[in-house]
Amino acid sequence: MASGFPKDRSLAKETPAQSNPVESPRLSPAREIYEGARDTLPLVIGAAPFGIIFGTLSGGCGLSAAATMAMSLFVFAGSAQFIALGLVCGATAWPLIVMTTVVVNFRHLLYTATLLPFLGGLARPWQALLAFGLTDETFAVAARRYLDPKQPDLTRWYQLGSALFMYTNWNVCTLVGLAAGRHLSDVAGWGLDFAMPATFIGMVIPYLKDRPGWISVLVAGAVSIPAAALPHKLGLLVAALAGIAAGLLAETRIHRRRDPFKRKETLS
């Protein structure tokens, strides 16, 4: 991963067409947006039932239609919205709901940190836009593209395409759920909520390509069960950090055992 990134913002000010004219043929911004959206399609399909259930359940918890829609429009964080809804059902005070959101969404700090070398050189409005749309799904899709050495320059358009598709889908589905909510009161019992774990399982599989990857996932999973007893959903953060530490540790140990001259290759 490139650790050096432009310190000034001159790169970001260039128009996309001007940057790196010599390199292999680059896609236009429109094409990047299209490809970002296309690669996000499976995740959009997975998120759709989730958005519909969110809209459907909100009324039963006493959350107004306006607040439900505003949450999807301005917060745009599926799991945090669901947890907030559960807390609204339990008549939790709003400051506590906001605090729980911080804990649940704290994982996104890791995502921004991962993309830092790539988003760092962009202009502020771009950074703000892409940060707002940095869901689990868009992160998973965009991170791959950034790491692909062939297409680094216009990947911000690609990420934008992914985020736009997720955002539109999430809000349309919330609206559909709100509209259907009064007619389909038992939709919660259908089991459509399995769409989220199904999507996330599909997103984890590609990472299971080597031993550290496996160890990281197994440790995160094992810790998440006892950690679930922690208050305010802190268990999520604890389990994730344990998984990250385990993966890093495993990787370090494996490299230490190997020929030190080969180390550079295997690391990159």
Partner: protein
Amino acid sequence: MSTAEVCMVAGMALATFLIRYGLLPLSGRLSLPPTVERALSYSAPAVLTAIIVPTVLMPDGKEMVLSLSNSYLVGAVATAGVGWLTRNLLATIVLGMAAFLCWQWVVKNLLMF
């Protein structure tokens, strides 16, 4: 919207955005140590697994259900199997969802647990 709802949504929106945006203004000044960069490459699978496992093993959010009556668990195993074999995200989600719904129907209608 009531005042409490406005406060809640505004607070959630601000908190979420600040977490997602937070580190970006620092990017010109700070360069991540290689160890941190390597650690971060595990962030996505670790986070996702930490969300999946409790959802699947503790469907009611309280106690662990390790039996065939837990459609979430059976569905998750099926989904992972499809994902491992096909390496196709769309097939994984659609077939995994189908397996879950079928098993849920079986549990509700045919099996007496």
